[in-house]
Symmetry: C2
């Protein structure tokens, strides 16, 4: 397994793969790898002859008040996990090489980036799609692997790939969860014991919503109200949003009359967690 | 020579070139080809084993009051010229395929796109870099050829290519001029006889500026004033801007103390013409 820091060197390595007509699977990450990331990596290894993982805590997607500095970093452990999973190349660039002085070009995700998490994180998805575009240009993969856990991110990146004609297939893999239902997230390590216990309510609220829908409820305001009631019972939970939106434009739905996304964001202390479920309309 | 309309088909054709390890030169145009375009195409043919030309009047770079509808189109003649120049593939997409309904992703050129022509053409360079990024993803060329005539555009595209790590070399070719100095432009056909005569003043003003600089003038306000005086003597000329800017950030310079760009935009009737010279500081 090669570990490459220099973007130019990455391009050269990738060209070697291409020269040998290998298909490349690519998993972009911010490190602090957990079983969610590993499920993407394993799928990439199954599907492709070469797999590239990037580990880069992208400053452009953090707001000034956010956790860029204290975002969990565990490079050594991450590299061991990549090696074990048979990754071919890990790209660990420096911020100064990804955003050299004078960098001014950014990709705007439009209104998709202004809904849900975009409301309280202005500029976040701009940073996300810009770094993904840069990485796609450097890695030139055949398949890009993303996690369903960050549903809005996955939808926006897929849209960017289509809108800008990036020659890559996007594969979105299911959310991996703890036994009690909590979606895996690198930020879960921020939680203290009590917050961790309360954080189960995210997946519980989603399951409850699915149950309501299975029982015929189609009114999204009612569903959201019930979810909020459930979440608000937890002492450490502060709701950021609970929303039911369509899958194309992420617009709030009044009635469930098509496939949709139930998404929520809840703070536990200073830790912002998200979770979601896709509802297939039948 | 192949003529391709469908973006997906273009990608397939390009993959064949790639499979045979051919280098690809790419010349993006809006058609109405003149000797300026042809100088780019000829250079691309000299440098590469395969040459792709795109002909697409890109709606995203025209303002609502601009000349999208009446922009000159001469597809048949353009194709003949491409054939004669030994172009391998001409891509002539439809707007509905390049911007399908729901397209929302755009690339922002930042402050570079807000200076010079960007002041009176808000959104223009956003449209330019977005379509070029899309075409780069579709064509995947080794070398991209641009004309010095559109200096701001060339500088912004080069910046976008670097900032977003597009794996392509950018080659900027000199402006091609009529005998009397007028820079070739597809929009020159809009000029009536009197306007055409007056339009010589663009290159005359630039030559005058170069003369002033050669004689030791370093004060840009003086140089600009003299240029404006010269232009204003022409009955049909209405100055949009005359500027002396640095080559990296396109910021106005007070003194010529480094390499710089003298750029001007002048209207003749409804026709907006631009021209420029790069000044090497010695």
């Amino acid at each position: 397994m090669k570990v490459v820091v220099d973007p130019q060197k990455l391009s050269n390595e990738v060209k070697k793969f291409k020269g040998r007509k290998k298909t490349i699977g690519f998993v972009p990450t911010m490190g602090a790898l957990h079983h969610g990331h590993l499920s993407l990596i394993k799928q990439a290894v199954r599907d492709n002859q070469k797999v590239v993982v990037s580990i880069f805590v992208n400053p452009a997607q953090f707001g000034p008040q956010e956790d860029l500095k204290k975002y969990p970093r565990s490079l050594k452990k991450d590299l061991k996990q990549c090696l074990k999973a048979k990754v071919d190349l890990v790209f660990v660039p420096d911020a100064k090489d990804m955003y050299p002085q004078g960098h001014i070009t950014f990709i705007e995700a439009g209104k998709l980036g202004q809904q849900l998490c975009g409301i309280s994180r202005p500029g976040h998805f701009r940073g996300v799609v810009t770094i993904v575009a840069k990485l796609l240009n450097l890695v030139d993969p055949d398949v890009l692997y993303l996690g369903q856990k960050d549903a809005q991110q996955a939808i926006i990146i897929k849209k960017m790939v289509n809108d800008l004609n990036f020659p890559v297939k996007v594969k979105i893999m299911p959310t991996v969860r703890e036994k009690d239902g909590l979606a895996l997230s690198s930020r879960n390590v921020y939680l203290n014991q009590e917050q961790r216990k309360d954080a189960r309510v995210l997946s519980e609220a989603l399951s409850f919503a699915k149950l309501l829908i299975a029982n015929g409820q189609r009114n999204t305001a009612r569903i959201i109200e019930k979810m909020k009631q459930l979440i608000n019972r937890k002492k450490h939970a502060k709701i950021n949003y609970v929303a039911v939106v369509d899958l194309e434009e992420l617009q709030n739905l009044k009635k469930i009359n098509k496939n949709c996304l139930i998404a929520l964001s809840v703070r536990f202390g200073k830790t912002r967690l998200i979770d979601n479920e896709i509802i297939s309309y039948v």
